[in-house]
């Protein structure tokens, strides 16, 4: 395997421009929801709201104010964490989800049967069905670009280098330096997912945060679904059966969807 590659997202220089969201959609040819005709969400400047099958990047806006002009506005560009121990990969019944030579986690659309097991298994709520393809989709860390030596579209487009792409080992060093700098300025900065000894063996997309992970919608203790399975053998058998059933149902549903659309195939 080549060196592990990934993202370091420094939220302190994110300006919430959403260039990452657009660059991602453009490169991966993902559609806008409802063709772009939508209603205002009312949730600060966030109108796409979440990561799913057609939003592989999402910028979160968090307004923390005590009164007029008195507070801060946090922004964070979120994405698949490309976990070292990836729940989605573990539960995928068809082997559609693979670990690449860059230590990233990719769903192969042509192998996915749309069973949704990975959706339930992801502790970050990253994955969802892309309604166009009918398969589970998420960030590929621009696997196609990486293979020809290009950096992912989002980090390439990020004007302030809030999203940094590179070798994980080097990114960790850079991130620790930045944390030290911020701490010396009195900012309570901490890294999320940078520790290889931490949850899920570390995240290949990790973050510099200035508040609790929950504030950014990140679980403090992300867990693999199999963590519980190991505790209970019986339950794990039952779970396996359910997953298998889900896989069959999913496969049937996908075929039916394709038939009702008059063919199909991946987009």
């Amino acid at each position: 395997m080549a060196e592990a590659m990934g993202f370091f997202t420094d939220t302190t220089v994110c300006i919430g421009c959403k260039a990452c969201e657009v660059a991602c959609k453009e490169w991966n040819q993902l559609p806008a929801e409802n063709g772009g005709v939508r209603e205002l969400s009312g949730d600060s400047y966030d109108n796409t709201r979440k990561l799913d099958g057609i939003h592989w990047r999402h910028v979160r806006f968090i307004e923390q104010f005590k009164g007029p002009y008195d507070g801060r506005w946090l922004m964070m560009s979120d994405v698949c964490k490309h976990c070292v121990q990836a729940g989605c990969l573990e539960v995928c019944p068809t082997g559609a989800i693979v670990r690449t030579q860059f230590d990233t986690v990719v769903i192969q659309s042509d192998v996915c049967n749309g069973c949704r097991a990975c959706i339930a298994a992801c502790p970050f709520g990253v994955i969802d069905i892309n309604p166009v393809s009918g398969t589970a989709q998420k960030c590929t860390l621009c696997y196609d670009r990486l293979q020809v030596g290009l950096e992912p579209a989002c980090s390439k487009a990020c004007p302030t280098d809030s999203i940094q792409f590179g070798a994980i080992a080097e990114l960790r060093t850079r991130a620790e330096k930045r944390v030290a700098q911020l701490k010396s300025q009195g900012v309570a900065a901490e890294l999320y997912g940078a520790d290889p000894g931490g949850p899920l063996g570390g995240l290949n997309s990790f973050y510099l945060l200035v508040d609790k992970p929950e504030v950014y919608g990140l679980p403090r203790h992300p867990e693999l679904p199999t963590t519980n399975l190991a505790k209970s053998g019986g339950l794990s058998v039952a779970s396996a059966a359910v997953l298998g059933l889900l896989a069959i149902v999913g496969l049937r549903k996908r075929r039916m969807d394709e038939q009702s659309r008059g063919g199909g195939g991946n987009v």
Binding site: C17, K18, K25
Partner: protein, 854 residues
């Protein structure tokens, strides 16, 4: 300050963020807590329309600070590199003496032939001038040496049609030396005038006028002082020369332009009031009757602008080619002259009166522009309208989908306008150059061919010009001779394939802008120093001269960055005007002797040991010494720091080796502006036209020379001061997700979904008072109209204490209209035809409104 750089210039904002990583401090002063505030070290709220009070407060604080008065650097810089020490005319009266106006205010009467200047008053700036000694003795003209007689020399030269060369004419314009007091004690010196002028701008007054808490204001002032000095610099949009921020790396005035290539559109202008390279457009209202009259009126003899005749004649040669000769004053009489204010709002005010019959609207969407109702009413008076855009914009559809038509106030059958729509190419579908905010030209090649009949804007104007030339051919009318003689040769040369049928050659246009030897257009000019005033050089825009120094050498296409670890002037990346300089006036980065003010901040410096080659023209030896460094020096390259002005010199010869501001008549940065600004020599706080309060600083409420177009007309109603019907201050602005009037973003699904609908941002306090909940539909009204928008309730905007009153501030992005995927009411239906007198920019950032639940 007053800028939302992170949202409006996200790509350029890369650099403030890099600076932040290097330890820089970022302060954001704005009525809203925006995405810029989110990453700033300090956000200071300010009421829209009160920037000058805040900046005046900073000036007052800085010049009275211990730091400024004890660190010798500050005074050394101010005395030598600015006009702080210059004595102003005894007749000058400041706002301190005249209750808020300057001396020289006179009444303005609109001329009948073009009553669209929007002015009630104007300033005669005679009393704002420097106090001067007697005029220098003209060397070659024997005449009595008095001021009056010197004017007579100019008149005589004009009458005799002297020149080219025009050197004598330029020399005759020289004034006597300005009086100075380097101790800065003379009560009439600029420094003392300033000190008195800004004395009332105290932190307490800033708090009253701006609503900015005093503690926060003082913190900003202290931060500014901390990051100023020999070793430090700050980038600041105003008041720059006080803390010595001009002409030094990491410092200066960076105009944040509103559009990707808007810098280029003022350099090679689509502006009405200037011709290429910031020369004033010939005007029927100024002494511009003949070529020499224009030169006499427009040439500053003792700055680089002393070369204006060379710029002008080379420009005229580009306009009229072989038809421009010495005998016909290079075709000057064919050149159009302006009649007054033809800026955006003025033109629409005239259109509303039926004075403008037709309009080519190319890549612009005025139907959603300032005072939308009035603008659309103006559009309906046109005989014909051409809209050239990517989509059917609001301007193309106002006649059947505009709010007036939908409401039944206007009937389609009553609109006589014939409207033509031309589909347009996108930026990636043609070749050309961008000029960015750093004055840098970057060539781009097309990435894809446009579909169908989409054509470039240059295709449109190129083919229109060719047809117009044909239409005027053979006319004997003198007014048509401009068209008959204009030189128009932009078809691709044989062998060059046009991008689209009938398309222009973009390279040929840039070559024409760069300029060449008239006798051989293949011999390009290498820089504006080669320009001549006798017609032997042709150059459309002198400031761009050198970007294409040889027929096959397009420097704007270069993409070679500096390696890491060097200061990074990136001189081989694109090309920046003037002369590929990246920091203008960079002589100021060195001290009087030519040494860097600090090693950390070195940029260019004097190397006294440099061995110069002999002068290529005369073959004479050149003494040792040269300006060297990271950038192209913005100074005479071999002019020593101890060089003295030549008594008879014009242009740079009239300046010494310590006068860095070579485009100014005295080579110094102007803290006091004797000419060029029409609303006063010093910044002064006036209230916006529509304001909730009386001006706390002066009896004078608004600028006495600000513009109100179509005053008293029913379509430009204005609120009175403190109007109870419109109690809230409103600012309009942009979002990152959309672009201007929306033609490039509201039709694009990926952008439309990011900001799908119009909204109004209002504070929680106001929402509570009015029972408004997040996402409620609201009606927002001004004296011009009312619109609907959804509420976005937030603490990022809110209430302020202004002059003892509790005033709510609200804000609305203005990108929307009724076409496209993301739609909403036209926010500009609220704004007024009110503007500033210098550049006629509207007051849509600071006016008043009311907000009610729908």
């Amino acid at each position: 300050m007053g800028s939302n750089m992170a949202e409006c210039h996200p790509v350029a904002f890369r650099w403030p963020m890099k600076a932040k990583l290097n330890g820089a401090k970022l302060v954001h002063v704005d009525p809203r807590f925006t995405r810029t505030s989110a990453v700033a070290d300090l956000h200071v709220p300010i009421r829209a329309g009160s920037d000058i009070a805040f900046l005046g407060g900073l000036i007052n604080y800085v010049i009275n600070s211990k730091r400024w008065n004890t660190d010798p650097f500050f005074k050394e810089f101010a005395v030598n590199y600015t006009n702080a020490a210059t004595i102003i005319s005894d007749d000058f009266k400041d706002t301190e003496e005249l209750e808020g106006v300057f001396s020289g205010l006179v009444k303005f009467s609109e001329p009948a032939f073009w009553p669209y200047n929007g002015l009630e008053g104007r300033y005669d700036n005679a009393t704002w001038q420097y106090k001067r000694g007697p005029r220098p003795a003209p060397a070659r003209v024997e005449i009595t040496r008095t001021t009056a007689a010197a004017g007579a020399i100019t008149k005589d030269l004009i009458a005799k049609r002297a020149g080219p060369p025009f050197d004598d004419l330029v020399r005759s314009l020289k004034l006597g030396p300005a009086e100075k007091d380097p101790t800065l004690q003379n009560p009439h010196c600029v420094f003392q005038i300033l000190k008195r002028h800004f004395a009332r701008y105290t932190p307490e007054m800033v708090e009253q006028v701006c609503g900015s808490p005093k503690e926060k204001f003082i913190k900003v002032a202290e931060m500014l002082l901390e990051s100023s000095g020999r070793d430090r610099s700050s980038a600041f949009a105003y008041a720059v020369a006080w803390t010595q921020h001009i002409g030094r790396p990491g410092a200066g005035v960076m105009a944040l332009r509103g559009h990707a290539a808007i810098q280029g559109s003022t350099d090679v202008p689509t502006l009405y009031h200037s011709i290429h390279g910031y020369m004033n457009a010939p005007s029927a209202l100024r002494p511009h009757e003949t070529l020499r009259d224009y030169m006499a009126a427009e040439t500053t003899p003792t700055s680089y602008y002393g070369n204006t005749p060379k710029f002008l004649v080379s420009y005229l040669k580009s306009m009229y080619g072989a038809a421009a000769t010495t005998e016909n004053d290079f075709g000057y009489d064919w050149h159009p002259k302006i009649l007054g204010d033809h800026s955006h709002i003025a033109s629409f005010a005239a259109m509303a009166d039926g004075k403008v019959k037709g309009m080519c609207c190319v890549g612009q969407n005025p139907a959603t522009s300032l005072n939308g109702g009035a603008t659309r009413q103006a559009l309906r008076q046109l005989d014909w309208l051409v809209v050239k855009d990517n989509w059917l914009t609001e301007t193309a559809t106002h006649w059947y989908l505009g709010p007036e038509v939908k409401k039944g106030e206007v009937k389609i059958e009553d609109i006589k306008t014939e409207i033509f729509f031309f589909p347009s190419t996108q930026i990636a579908e043609y070749d050309g150059s961008f000029t960015n905010t750093q004055r840098m030209l970057q060539w781009h090649s097309y990435a894809a061919k446009a579909p169908g009949d989409c054509r470039t804007d240059s295709w449109f104007y190129h083919n229109l010009a060719k047809r117009l030339k044909k239409a005027y051919a053979g006319s004997k009318l003198s007014r048509d001779q401009g068209w008959n003689n204009v030189s128009w040769d932009f078809d691709p040369d044989a062998g060059e394939e046009p991008l689209y049928p009938g398309e222009i050659s973009a390279r040929k246009v840039l070559r024409e802008i760069n300029g060449y030897q008239t006798a051989d257009p293949k011999q390009h000019l290498k820089g504006f120093a080669e320009l001549k005033d006798d017609g032997s050089t042709t150059c459309a825009s002198w400031i761009y001269c050198g970007c294409y120094p040889a027929w096959d050498q397009n420097l704007t296409a270069r993409r070679e960055p500096d390696p890491p670890g060097v200061p990074g002037a990136h001189l081989k990346w694109g090309w920046a005007w003037p002369a590929n300089r990246r920091v203008m006036y960079n002589r100021a980065s060195a001290d009087l002797k030519g040494n860097p003010w600090s090693e950390r901040k070195r940029w260019i410096w004097w190397d006294p040991t440099f061995v110069n080659p002999p002068d290529p023209k005369t073959g004479k030896p050149v003494p040792k010494g040269k300006w060297v460094g990271y950038d192209v020096p913005d100074f005479g390259a071999t002019k020593a720091p101890d060089a003295q002005p030549k008594p008879d010199g014009i242009g740079l010869d009239a300046l010494s080796g310590t006068q860095p501001f070579i485009m100014r008549a005295d080579g110094r940065g102007w803290l006091f502006v004797p000419a060029g600004l029409v609303d006063g020599p010093l910044p002064t706080h006036y209230e916006p036209h529509e304001s909730p309060i009386q001006n706390p600083l002066y009896k004078q409420q608004t600028s006495p020379v600000h513009k109100v177009w179509a005053p008293g007309k029913p379509y430009n109603k204005l609120a009175v001061v403190g109007d109870p019907k419109f109690p809230y201050v409103i600012s309009t602005y942009r979002l990152t997700e959309h672009y201007l009037a929306g033609a490039m973003s509201r039709w694009l699904p990926w952008l439309a979904e990011l900001q799908p609908e119009l909204f109004i941002e209002l504070g929680k306090g106001l929402a509570q008072e009015k029972g408004i909940k997040n996402l409620d539909w609201l009606v927002v009204s001004s004296p011009r109209g009312h619109i609907r928008a959804k509420a976005l309730v937030t603490d990022r905007i809110g209430v302020m204490q202004i002059a003892g009153k509790r005033i709510h501030h609200v804000g609305m992005p203005w990108h929307w209209g009724w076409m496209g995927l993301s739609t909403g009411d036209v926010v500009n239906d609220l704004t007024a035809w009110v503007g500033d007198p210098n550049v006629s920019i509207h007051e849509g950032k600071a006016f008043v409104c009311n907000v009610e639940k729908a």
